[in-house]
Symmetry: C2
Subunit: 406 residues, 2 copies
Amino acid sequence: MKPAMTQGILQGLRIVEISAFVAAPLGAMTLAQMGADVVRIDPPTGGLDYRRWPVTDDGVSLFWAGLNKSKRSVAIDIATPQGRELAQALITAPGDDAGILLTNFPARGWLDHGALRARRGDLIQLTIQGDHLGGSAVDYTVNPRMGVPYLTGPPTHEGPVNHVLPAWDLITGQMAATGILAAERHRRRTGEGQHIKLALQDVALASLGHLGFIAEAQRGIERPRYGNDLFGAFGRDFVTRDGERIMVIGLTLKQWRSLCVATGMTEHVEQIGRQRGFDLDREGDRFRAREDIAAFVAAWAGARALAEIAAIFDSHAVCWSRYQSVKELVDSDAACSEANPMFRTVQQPGVGPVLSASVPLDFGTGRLPPEPAPRLGEHTAQVLSQALGMSEAEIEQLRSHGIIGA
Amino acid sequence: MKPAMTQGILQGLRIVEISAFVAAPLGAMTLAQMGADVVRIDPPTGGLDYRRWPVTDDGVSLFWAGLNKSKRSVAIDIATPQGRELAQALITAPGDDAGILLTNFPARGWLDHGALRARRGDLIQLTIQGDHLGGSAVDYTVNPRMGVPYLTGPPTHEGPVNHVLPAWDLITGQMAATGILAAERHRRRTGEGQHIKLALQDVALASLGHLGFIAEAQRGIERPRYGNDLFGAFGRDFVTRDGERIMVIGLTLKQWRSLCVATGMTEHVEQIGRQRGFDLDREGDRFRAREDIAAFVAAWAGARALAEIAAIFDSHAVCWSRYQSVKELVDSDAACSEANPMFRTVQQPGVGPVLSASVPLDFGTGRLPPEPAPRLGEHTAQVLSQALGMSEAEIEQLRSHGIIGA
């Protein structure tokens, strides 16, 4: 049994977030869900992402609620000089574990690193930017430039296919969390703060490079669209007799042999190998022979109902899965329910009950349950009092002048 | 100017990696590219991913080269008891900054956490697994279960569209790096090690939850396929007069107004708004009116060549980009060249020159250039000598018995 967890693994760490949309909020939320105290500063009317879809019938953003869980919210009108001064004071507030800013706002004006550093010499500032030159870009504009939309979708399709999941944003957000922790380790060892820049476009470029796409293109190979085929080995989607869709994988030799035995195609593929001069124990030859292999599997799967296939595949440890819609996932998949210890239903203000995920990292020392996102400005007075030692009268004055939210 | 960097920000940290494919190698490489000493242990004939496509004409894996940069390689035959003993000794070798294992192999047998912990009480072990129950899963089987393939691709398409980028793997890899650093921080403060589990499927589920997909489905909303449209605001791909493809975004109000001014559609969209009862200053109403808006932009873009559009868009700070293939990206985009300080051409053994990316995190304290991936087993003797104090004679004996690679 795990110990009951009341403090996360990052207990004590204090981060100010000034952000919008996916990457920066996700990076800070990852830290918050591990126990860091994350204070997100927004304008009293909400930031650029405060109404982002999906929304409830009342227009409350489920997106915002999802990406700001476990944080505290402070509402400051940073269009005013006093508001900017207040935000700077929060960013550079004292405390060994404080003095960390995660933002996707440009590092100029009131967020200029030099200006902030003048207030706190060991500040850690991580700025997510569009490209390495400081230009702006979003996941939707980075992706077309990477070539991935021309590799996605059916081979017969013309034109690009955008991804629906903002993958570059999601990777960048996690990398921001990594960068903050690395810089905080460095600061604890040396006393030195720093400004870290993380470009969304660089994350995409590096990912392509790491996976071999760049090296492949440098060697003159133009990879075409391969539809739903797994590149470089065997893997494809098939339709069952009862009209279900399944994905079937033969990436490793073990997976491949399981699939051959489960479908009874061992002899057949040996024949294919002999006829075409392939060694199908090699993943690359499986890819070359994929149409022949797929023809057999398609006939086999098409002759059986999903339940039968599932029983056979599972008894042979085949690597496979069934396609389902998000609705099916949410309605009937136990992995997407409180049966999975990562999930807990939280009461989200303005929304109601929401099945919410904590951080996927399941620490041996325990994992905090997910907390709802705050109401906008919910913690304004609390944070100003705790971090800056402000009195109720001072806070009331700021409020009456519209510098902070109600 | 940045200081010349000879040691990365994670200098001193020592990690043993026992892995294959994307997530675990990427997580460890991220730490290696920040200066950690990452020792990857593989069988003398290479692990499951040693031949993974893309490959050179000679069958050398560009994938493996991409995901193992800046590491040291140790070849041990872990099918033998002596090999397993040796690997355990490396995992639990002494040193304040050592005793960290990142793996996607099951935590049983010689990788059982209890067994390893008996050798080093403060071991940090991070195990990437398929699902939270410890079952196996890969990106290709997780994705169908998440519903995303039914949301991707043209609205007229039937059947699922797989993603080509292993997004779940990439996110999981970054999250593994975060988990290691969080646990290492905890160990430095408390002396306590731990076993962290990170399920690929949980990363996918949490991501869907964070973005609002789960909450939306819980409210009975079944999101259909929206093709290349940006969900919840305005954004779509268009064809120019000269047959180029562009992605055009009006997510924020500022982006939307820039687009209206640049294309001269301000009056037209006011008319649409009046006719249809929409306030197009609201992102959701822009999504509702997207067909009307897109009809105007399509005609405008179709009447102009890319060069003309680029000049107009850039002078109005429109949020847009051009679709290009991976080949175009690599051949002619300065962002994907040594003009981008993240990239450096490295000489990869068995491959030749490869444009390689370092970590996208651009630390104020400096960023290490990318190093090539090692040759398999390149550092076996060096690591056994340094970490375990073995003599040349001892190492030679292991080699002659086939326990370690040449």
